[in-house]
Symmetry: C2
């Protein structure tokens, strides 16, 4: 996928844009695909390039209620034309949005703080956990990704090799290899890592875990998988931070949040990506006593966090999710899609596993003989799919897991298009 | 000002909203004023409360081109109705915006990375400086504020007392007390602090400085004030990060950036607050070689940073600033306002100093007898101004500096209203 500075976008216009982009934007900016896609318009699950070609978006969870969704765009416009300001003045939208959002959480998660990106939400959650426990050590999974700030990049071993002394990594549960032992082994590792943090004098502040384990290769089953580790973290005196930036807002098809699938009782929950359908909004939902202590010890103010426009956008997204029954829709469409992918697996021996939940599905590619991760083929499949004008990506420690994570308005017909394109891409990459 | 949970917003409706707000939002949320303002609408430099009362906004720099500015709201709508996505696909708006923005910078600051908040921009700039130098130590001024992430809060001694070993604080230049020695003394302190960081084994990565020294009490004069310290930082092997989150985008009335006033040659410049007129957008502008090195060593991707809607908004703000000549306007209106404030000072002995640049002005209140900071009176003046329906705030290590920082479209007539209200507030708080 990624591609360091691909050579060409195809047309002269795309070449020119690519050249200007390389000049003006820092080297950190990378493009998907060997041949980048130059997008100009979106509509529902469809994206259109500069030549008017249509792409099926089976990857972008951010546009949760569909690209350019009218209700969201209109709500943003109406509020922006009226007032945008910060939370040091009283205003209705942030309060209304917080109330509406909190209604989707268990009672012990009673209050909200709004931020602008998933990184900011995770960074703040860790500041709060450090303040609450008086300790600085965190436990993350070995290939975790939790953000791009200094503190959250340190909690993201998937970004780089060196992890500071205040961060301990544990192998994510892998039910495929470990079977029924996965949850217990993961919990035992959390206990041991917390003990090491205490012994090192760093102390254990919390366990932060992506409830769909996305960068670990997407692990959703069995239900309850993460509960013993959360219990272990609590027993060791730390907080449990459920990172719902990827799993949240109904994607898993059986409720709004991934932590509920696993019967977790998190102390803090972080939200991001789909929250504003592309508008920069994120947040931390948590226990009132934990927030009270943080508020009395530290000053925190985020100029843009919870501004009336962001709140109106968040509210419009929530309205659509509720009114259109998108959680149940994700469950039904996801089940449909999973059946198709499982059928593909019966015909393509290169598919080692199909897993996930709702509209967060994963197709693991492995060598049919040896079972070794088919990382290089996975990249070719993603690029082949792009040529067939279906957008997906890859994940996992070995990059051999196709990540399928479309807007929640994806329908059964689009699911058929996706499976057919994948069928073709698998055939094309068989040699 | 702030007020921890004031008792009442006046009306029953405001009381009810306040009560709901306390229930749903974390304790960190604080309101301005003894009696909070409940805002529902904005227009230019005017804000309106729920009862239709009108307030003159002489404080909110974020709404740089005026509240609910039509060109900005329309540009946001047009792009959001078309496409919002991330930078892993090619798209025009982020490239065009970067080019247009970079045209306002000296040639050695050649590339951009977009983020969503000023905190994210400063956090990233520090990651980049650490990566470039291979060292982790930063120098900030004693009462600096650079953000709310874990890393930038550590660089913000104005937020709390304990600063980690990797952060050294130096007294900000205070030309009022130090006279012509201020710049040289500040530079000498930077050299000494860098030496201590090197000696401690932490190493010196960079000097980060707010070019208007806002939280230090607003220090704009003399021009060149910060240049010797920047030279000292470079001589000690560190990078210079100019924090333009508050000073940038023409506010100082004589150019787009505060660093240019002081003939600084920063390696990285951070932008925020006014960049999107309230839309969450921020960025880092920097040297290509520094960005290249970071890009080759670290992975950085910000899902919302530089999305097409944010870019369209940033572009619309820049358009208005350029087309309406708001930099020159800020210079002219600021000079007018400063003359009025200086006139006030001749009649109110409690005014110890009037200073600043363009439309970032400061009025320092001191005991006329002892010269001691009149912190308590300053809070009373801010609340009295609110009762007169003019919004300002206070800053400085002792909280005795009135901060006047209106949208740049503030005009001469509004400046007269502001001075009259301040005249009255000073009279009302004389006893």
């Amino acid at each position: 996928m990624g591609g360091n500075d691909p050579a060409s976008g195809g047309t002269a216009a795309a070449d020119d844009l690519l050249c200007r982009r390389r000049r003006a934007l820092a080297a950190s900016y990378r493009l998907f695909y060997d041949e980048p896609v130059h997008l100009v318009r979106g509509d529902g699950c469809w994206l259109f390039d500069a030549d008017g070609e249509r792409y099926l978006d089976a990857y972008n969870n951010v546009a949760v209620v569909g690209h350019a969704r009218a209700e969201v765009v209109d709500a943003m416009y109406a509020q922006a034309a009226r007032l945008n300001t910060h939370t040091r003045y009283l205003s209705e939208p942030v309060v209304e949005y917080a109330e509406r959002l909190l209604a989707h959480f268990p009672a012990h998660l009673a209050q909200a703080i709004f931020t602008c990106t998933g990184s900011e939400a995770n960074d703040l959650a860790c500041r709060i956990a450090t303040s609450w426990t008086g300790r600085a050590g965190f436990i993350v999974t070995k290939n975790a990704y939790h953000g791009t700030t200094t503190a959250t990049a340190a909690l993201s071993p998937s970004l780089h090799a060196d992890t500071p002394a205040s961060v301990r990594t544990v192998a994510a549960p892998n039910p495929r290899e470990e079977g029924a032992e996965a949850a217990g082994r993961f919990a035992a590792d959390v206990t041991a890592a917390a003990e090491r943090l205490h012994a090192d004098g760093v102390g254990f502040a919390g366990l932060i875990v992506d409830t769909i384990l996305s960068s670990e290769g997407v692990w959703a089953e069995p239900r309850g998988l993460l509960a013993p580790a959360a219990d272990a973290a609590h027993a060791a005196g730390g907080l449990v931070i459920a990172d719902e930036v990827q799993a949240g807002f109904g994607r898993l098809g059986d409720g709004m949040w991934g932590f509920a699938r696993h019967d977790l009782r998190p102390d803090l929950v972080t939200l991001g990506k789909p929250m504003g359908n592309g508008h920069p909004i994120s947040g931390v939902i948590g226990r009132r006593d934990v927030f009270d202590a943080f508020g009395s010890r530290e000053r925190y103010f985020n100029t843009f966090g919870g501004n009336p426009v962001s709140a109106a956008v968040g509210l419009a997204v929530l309205d659509v999710i509720e009114r259109d029954g998108l959680v149940a829709h994700a469950g039904a469409t996801g089940a449909h899609m999973r059946a198709e992918l499982t059928d593909l697996a019966s015909r393509h021996p290169g598919i080692g596993d199909v897993r996930g939940s709702g509209l967060f599905l994963a197709v693991e590619l492995a060598d049919p003989e040896t079972g070794a991760p088919a990382s290089e083929r996975t990249a070719r499949v993603v690029n082949e799919m792009r040529r067939e004008r279906v957008l997906i990506s890859a994940t996992g420690p070995s990059g051999n897991v196709l990540k399928i994570r479309p807007p929640l308005v994806f329908d059964a017909e689009q699911s058929v298009l996706l499976s057919r394109a994948l069928d073709d891409a698998l055939t094309a990459t068989e040699a």
